[in-house]
Symmetry: C2
Subunit: 193 residues, 2 copies
C-alpha cells in the first residue's frame, strides 16, 4: 500500500520539514495545501490510481508533490488555473474525485489566517513563526470539500506528436504545426555570442 497524505512524510512535522527542504521555506500556502491533500486522500481511500489538479500556479502543487506520487514531471498533477486556492484528487480510471478548497466563510473564525489569506497582513506584522502554528491548529477547519466528477475532455492527456527536427535550429521537437519549432518562432532567451 502506498502512503498518501501526511502519513507519506511521517506526520505533520515530517511534512513541514520536507516542505522546508523542497520548497525552500515553510510557505503558509503549502502548509494549508498539506491539510487539503490529507483531507482529499482520506476521502479517496480505496482508489489506487490518483491524478490531481491544482487550480493555482502558486504553492499548492508542492503539497501535492510532497504528499502523493503525483509530480509535475510525471504528469499526474496538472495546473488548471482558476485563480482559486483549490485542488482535486480523482481516480484515473473512473474520474470520480474530491475537490477541496479554502472556504472564505470558515476563515472568519481564524482572524490571523484570514488576514494573511486576503493579504491584509505584512510579513513583519505576521511572521511565519506566528502564522504557521495557527494554520496547523486550524487544520481542516478552514476547508470545505465536495465530491466531483472530472470531465474527461479536460482531464484527457495530450499525446505529443512524434519527435522531428526543426528546420531552423536543428533540434528535435514535439509539437503540432509547421516544421519550425515553437522556440524558433519566439523564444524566452537569446544566444550570447
Amino acid at each position: 500500500m502506498q502512503k498518501l497524505g501526511f502519513e507519506r512524510r511521517g506526520g505533520v512535522e515530517g511534512f513541514l520539514r520536507a516542505l522546508e527542504e523542497f520548497h525552500g521555506y515553510r510557505a503558509p500556502g503549502v502548509v494549508i495545501g498539506g491539510f487539503m491533500v490529507d483531507l482529499a486522500v482520506r476521502q479517496m481511500r480505496g482508489h489506487e490510481m490518483l491524478d490531481a489538479v491544482v487550480e493555482t500556479s502558486k504553492c499548492l502543487i508542492d503539497a501535492v508533490q510532497l504528499l502523493t506520487p503525483c509530480t509535475a514531471g510525471n504528469g499526474w498533477v496538472r495546473v488548471i488555473d482558476s485563480g482559486r486556492y483549490a485542488l482535486t484528487l480523482y481516480d484515473k480510471v473512473t474520474f470520480e474525485g474530491v475537490r477541496v478548497w479554502v472556504d472564505p466563510k470558515k476563515l472568519a473564525g481564524f482572524p490571523e489566517i484570514e488576514r494573511w489569506f486576503f493579504r491584509r497582513a505584512s510579513k513583519k506584522d505576521l511572521p511565519l513563526e506566528v502564522l504557521n502554528p495557527k494554520i496547523v491548529a486550524a487544520g481542516e477547519g478552514i476547508l470545505s470539500w465536495r465530491r466531483v466528477r472530472v470531465l474527461t475532455g479536460a482531464a484527457g492527456k495530450r499525446h505529443a506528436p512524434e519527435p522531428r527536427l526543426c528546420s531552423d535550429c536543428g533540434e528535435s521537437f514535439r509539437a503540432e504545426g509547421p516544421e519550425r519549432c515553437p522556440g524558433c518562432r519566439g523564444s524566452y532567451c537569446e544566444v550570447v555570442e
Copy 2:
C-alpha cells in the same frame, strides 16, 4: 553553500534513487535531465540565485526539482513549452544563463538512446535496465549548451491581483477580469450531487 546538481543527491546513484521515489520510476528522460541540470549548474557556478525554464511539460521539470532549489510551487522553475528537450538555468538578477539541450547530431553515436529518443524502440525491445545504463554512460556526450540571456519580458513574474470573492461560487480567487472566477466560467469538473 547550497548543493546543486548531482552533488545535491550525493552523486548519480543517489539521484537515481531520489528519482524513483519522487517520480515513481527511473524515467529515462529524467535521467538525461539530471545530466542536463548538472552541466548547467557547473556552468553557472558562482551565481547564487538561479531560476530555471524547461521547454517541455514532460519529465524534465522533475530533474530540476530534484537537483536545484527550484520547484513548480515556489515558481523558480517554469515550463515555457517549445516542445524541445531543453532547459535553461539563469541568474535571477542578471538574466544571464546557460541553455542545455539534447543534440540530435550527437545521438548518432549512441544508437540505443537515439532509438528511444526518436520513439523507434518499444519498452519491451529496450527495457529500462538496458537503456538507463547507456544513458548514464553517455552522460553529457549527447548534450550541447550555449550561454544565453533570458528576455526580461518572458521571465518576468506575473503578480496575481489581490484575492476577491467570486460572485458565483463564493470562493476567493485571484485573476484579472470580471467578478466571476475563471472556474465558474468553465470548469474541469462537475459536482456530484
